[in-house]
């Protein structure tokens, strides 16, 4: 789970927050409601997660209810991986 969170965090920092202090981005930092991820960034992240973990995220899961923090995203991906297995 920690590796998953770190991976998500690295991707977000690299793609959407270049130059930011990694420590300022915690696993509870609001991503969508905080304006860090807009709809396009969120879809880019979804594409990355689907490719990286070979999972399928439903379109109704692409929102702040399921993806508003690194912890939420990790939970979602983790549940998908478990479900697949």
């Amino acid at each position: 789970m920690e590796a998953l969170k770190n991976n998500v965090k690295s991707y977000i920092l690299q793609e959407f927050l270049p130059g930011e202090n990694p420590e300022a981005l915690t696993e509870s930092t609001p991503l969508i409601s905080g304006g860090i991820l807009d709809s396009i960034s969120t879809l880019k992240l979804v594409m990355y997660l689907e490719q990286q973990y070979n999972i399928k995220i439903q379109s109704r899961e692409v929102n702040a209810r399921y993806m508003d923090s690194i912890a939420d995203i990790a939970n979602l991906v983790h549940a998908k991986i478990n479900n697949k297995n």
Binding site: F16, E20, G35, S39, I40, S41, S59, R65, D68
Partner: protein
């Protein structure tokens, strides 16, 4: 399959928070709500929608709801919501609404396959469409239709979608609460509520924080609605008055700011739902500060954006992503904006009953969609400027951000004006500015733009360097937030009471009084009036009080098919069809063989009879009342009952009025039809507002039709204004606007001259439009024009004395006078005609110098100013024009300054002492206020304002004061509002006190 997420589960801490009652916080929140309720009632917030009544239920419901164990709260909320429906709609309508709604919800849960259930719901939707369109009769009252449509138009789509994916038991109280949301009964235009969010966010977190946030949202809503009123009353302009760059700027900005009505209502709605634990997402987020199209799309109507994104944009993008990112993005964007347009039209259909396929809608959404897509690509290429913390901006970045924000605001103002314009041609006409006035106000516009950007840059720089505190109230502690809302509440409450405390009746006090109610502004009053005359009602968006007024109007209200036919003279454009009986604006109309809305008459007048010809628009014709109820019929009946056989054997009043006639058509009607009946007098019905708008509309139709305009004045006017056949009606109206006074004066001169030529007494009567606010100056100006033309003038501006306009109009959406209104007009007109000399030995025969006798017309020493619907008239007590009786028909409020009698022609010098002496009495003991002030804007007080107690006996009063400023144009004002007891004033003396030490 949707996976569980942490946000959905409740932990122990949350659970404990939700079930524990913190009495301290409970009483604080209750106190805040009580203050809020006070302000809501003080300013009558959304009173026309029933929110005042509902707010009491909300308050009472909250008090109990917050104390209940969690498991009972949803059921209680549902109970309060259903109670609200019965409370506002009544038992029968409420039962219909709830019954139909439960039926629709039941269809979703029938024990048949999902497909069949969807099919049944679609069938139910189609039936509702048929009822909305009037194809099949609706078994229930029509008034509930918009609310039913509002409940289901989006929520049912979302609910059906989620129902299929439901993987846990859901209590019925939650399902039903989703549809019966308490504020919905007041606000059919409702933000989209996502079912999953509605479920997942219910009491998510500390309940007192949720309540506190709800109060903050309601406050934000109230403030938006108050600012909206300021803009609506004081800043909006009618399209015809856009004659310069300054006007254009004012029009565009004020028109865009009117969206505050929607944001205000949405914040109220969401705030109320918070009070019952529904922690829904923010609906609008400082959208006026958006720095680009994509940013605006994220900020304005967030639930709508989420709905489109989650249900359409994301699925489309994901389907197309195999074809590449760019294709997926373009395809999904295009699809989303087409659907956004469609769903707006869909929403419009459910709420108003017609599906608008209009070019402005299509252009607006296309342009906006293109801008958002381009902006998104630009951000992808350049990278979005996101950060975890506020970055300190350099001057260049601050300048660019400020320019982008102000530019976006201007761009949206332009686009918004297009979207809300009745037609494309109306919008294009906005930009047609006359060469001679085109650049007026340009300096002011540039100055404002530069100042706004300068302030923006300073704020951005200061915030980046933490010189300004961040004012994010959602992050405040409970105590800090409660203290803030209480402070705001007290401030607004005291502001609302300022007029009662301000004895000088300053402009600010008058402005605040006006803000305490929601009524039509000048622009909408004119639109409404012209709607009568032009059969045109094209204002078509939701956030407008005029549209709201019209929502309940039956579709066939103004149909009257076959009532009007084409002309006998082409300049008439249309006439009434002889010998037809038609239903029109709520009443049956019978037209006689001559095409008059009247009983039958012989062409030849009976020997010894006196004949009037009545010429006017719809109120003259009697729109909305039966033939026997028109003031024309009542006047004729009374004249014959009380006067026949005296000077004249009988009286005939022939009604040549036709709904939609401008003053110029009345002139043609007189010339072509009325004079054939050899009338002794012609009565022309005039109005303070509307006449010129009707004439402009009329002239544009005549020009477009290419008819021969045989009047030199009109031909010259057309040449002078550069009007041609290719121009739209809106453009023609704009070109004619600067000449409106000349046009009316010319029509009056023509009418009076034609009457003189045929020895007909020309009588001009001014009939007020119901609920219309007009100034004494406007009335005086019109009367002067009529008198100068040679009319005997009768002003009936106080004819509806003491009567609320609602009690005299034919329907809530139609302000034509009803039978009682016509009775009042007939009674007053009869009295005035008698005063004019109808019953004298000489009779009412043509004399070249006839003048009217309306009370208050003659005083050169006095002028009277009435505010906010107050009504009074002056009666002169003797031959001396200084001695007057102020008869008060309607004191609209408690404020003395709303009925103000001004003794003009006064001059004062600073520091000089003066004496004011006068005699006064009243019909019953009462008080008045007397003061000295400027007789021009801004009307500042000049050092004296005091109260005097009057008795029924005449008393002499004397006072001294020292003027505080030099003023050559001052007045002594007698403020007699706040009571309807008549006041008499005589022998007013105003003198400078000679100093004992003067050389």
């Amino acid at each position: 399959m949707i996976s569980p997420t942490p946000s959905r589960s409740s932990n122990d801490k949350d659970s404990a928070l939700r079930t524990t009652i913190d009495w301290g916080k409970y009483f604080v929140v209750t106190g805040e709500l009580a203050l809020l309720l006070l302000v809501i009632h003080q300013f009558k917030i959304e009173a026309n929608r029933g929110f005042l009544e509902l707010s009491k239920l909300i308050f009472g419901g909250f008090l109990i709801h917050a104390l209940l164990p969690l498991r009972y709260r949803l059921s209680f909320f549902l109970l309060v919501s259903l109670g609200g429906i019965f409370y506002l709609l009544g038992l029968a309508n409420g039962a219909w609404l709830i019954g139909i709604s439960l039926g629709v919800i039941a269809l979703c849960h029938l024990p048949v396959s999902y497909r069949i259930r969807v099919g049944l719901v679609v069938f139910a939707g189609a039936s509702l469409i048929a009822m909305r369109e009037g194809w099949i009769p609706i078994p229930a009252p029509r008034v509930i239709l918009p609310i039913i449509c509002s409940i289901f138009m989006f929520r049912l789509l979302i609910y059906l979608y989620e129902l299929r994916r439901e993987n846990r038991p859901v209590p019925w109280s939650q399902r039903l609460s989703y549809f019966f949301l308490l504020p919905n009964v007041c606000f059919p235009f409702f933000p989209i509520v996502d079912y999953k969010t509605f479920q997942d966010t219910y009491f998510k977190g500390d309940p007192y924080r949720i309540y506190q946030t709800g109060i903050q949202w309601i406050w934000r809503g109230v403030i938006h609605l108050l600012v909206y009123r300021v803009v609506y009353y004081y800043w909006t302009l009618p399209e015809v008055e856009v004659q310069s760059v300054g006007n254009l700027f004012q029009f565009l900005i004020s028109n865009y700011l009117l969206v505050l009505r929607v944001s205000g209502q949405f914040h109220l709605i969401i705030g109320v739902l918070y009070l019952f634990g529904f922690k829904l997402p923010e609906v609008m987020n400082r959208f006026f500060l958006a720095s680009g199209p994509a940013d605006l799309w994220r900020r304005i109507n967030i639930p709508w954006r989420n709905f489109i994104t989650e249900f359409f944009y994301n699925p489309c993008f994901m389907k197309l992503q195999a074809r590449g990112f760019t294709v997926a993005l373009l395809g999904a964007s295009l699809y989303s904006f087409v659907l956004t347009w469609f769903f707006h039209a869909y929403q419009f259909f459910w709420l108003r009953g017609n599906f608008p396929i209009i070019s402005q809608d299509i252009i607006y959404w296309s342009v906006f969609g293109i801008f958002v897509t381009i902006n998104t690509f630009y951000q992808i290429r350049r990278g979005r400027n996101t950060a975890l913390k506020n970055k300190s901006l350099g001057v260049r970045s601050a300048l660019l951000l400020s320019l982008r924000t102000s530019g976006m605001f201007l761009l949206m103002s332009v686009l918004w004006s297009l979207w809300t314009s009745p037609t494309m041609t109306d919008w294009l006409a906005l930009w047609d500015l006359p060469a001679e006035t085109r650049w007026q106000g340009a300096g002011w516009v540039i100055g404002l733009f530069l100042s706004a950007n300068l302030i923006g840059i300073i704020i951005l720089l200061a915030r980046g360097r933490n010189w300004l505190p961040r004012f994010d109230f959602t992050s405040f502690s409970f105590a800090k937030s409660a203290a803030l809302t209480c402070a705001v509440a007290l401030f607004v409450y005291l502001l609302g009471n300022f007029p009662a405390l301000d004895t000088t009746a300053s402009k600010t006090a008058q402005m605040i009084v006006k803000l305490q109610d929601m009524r039509l502004n000048r622009v909408d009053e004119t639109r409404l009036i012209q709607g009568y005359y032009e059969d045109l009602f094209a204002v078509h968006h939701f956030n407008n009080p005029l549209v709201e007024m019209q929502l309940a109007k039956p579709a066939d209200w103004e149909a009257g098919h076959g009532l009007k036919k084409s002309y006998t003279d082409e300049l008439l454009l249309f006439e009434l069809t002889p010998l037809v009986t038609k239903h029109y604006v709520g009443a049956t109309m019978q037209i006689n063989r001559w095409g008059m809305r009247d009983r039958d008459y012989e062409k030849e007048k009976s020997p010894g009879a006196y004949r009037f010809a009545l010429l006017g628009p719809s109120d003259g014709m009697g729109s909305g009342v039966t033939n026997d109820e028109t003031f024309e019929a009542l006047l004729e009946e009374r004249l014959n009952r009380e006067q026949a056989g005296k000077k004249y054997t009988q009286y005939e009043v022939l009604n040549f009025s036709v709904a939609g006639y401008s003053p110029f058509q009345q002139l043609i009607m007189l010339e072509k039809k009325a004079l054939v009946f050899a009338p002794d007098a012609a009565i022309f019905v005039a109005h303070v507002s509307g006449d010129i708008g009707m004439f402009s509309g009329y002239l544009s139709k005549v020009i477009s039709a290419g008819y021969d305009i045989r009047y030199d004045y009109l031909r010259d006017l057309i040449v002078k204004t550069g009007i041609d056949k290719e121009m739209s009606e809106a453009q023609i109206k704009k070109r004619l606007q600067p000449h409106k006074n000349d046009i009316i004066a010319w029509v009056y001169r023509e009418m009076a001259a034609l009457c003189r030529k045929h020895q007909v007494v020309p009588i001009w009567i001014l009939v007020p439009n119901l609920g219309e606010l007009h100034s004494r100056a406007e009335v005086d100006h019109l009367m002067q024009q009529a008198r100068a033309a040679g009319f005997a003038t009768i002003s009936m501006t106080s004819v509806y004395r003491n009567r609320p306009s609602k009690s005299l109009q034919i329907a809530p959406w139609d302000k034509h006078p009803n039978a009682e209104g016509h009775r009042l007009i007939a009674e007053r007109l009869y009295q005035k005609l008698v005063q004019l000399g109808l019953t004298e030995a000489s009779g009412l025969t043509y004399q070249p110098t006839m003048d009217g006798v309306e009370d208050g017309d003659r005083g050169s020493y006095w002028n009277m100013r009435l505010e906010n619907g107050s009504d009074a008239s002056l009666v002169f007590l003797s031959d001396h024009e200084e001695n007057v009786r102020l008869a008060i028909n309607d004191a609209a409020s408690k404020y003395a300054w709303e009925i103000r009698l001004n003794r003009i022609d006064v001059a004062v010098k600073a520091s000089q002492r003066y004496t004011v002496q006068f005699q006064a009495r009243a019909d019953k003991p009462r008080r008045i206020f007397v003061g000295c002030a400027q007789a021009h804007e801004p009307g500042n007080n000049l050092g004296w304002y005091r109260e005097f107690e009057l008795t029924t006996a005449w008393q002499g009063f004397s006072a001294e004061f020292a003027a505080t400023a030099d003023e050559d144009n001052a007045r002594i004002h007698f403020d007699a509002g706040g009571s309807e007891i008549a006041v008499e004033i005589a022998d007013v003396r105003f003198n400078a006190i000679q100093s004992d030490h003067a050389p």
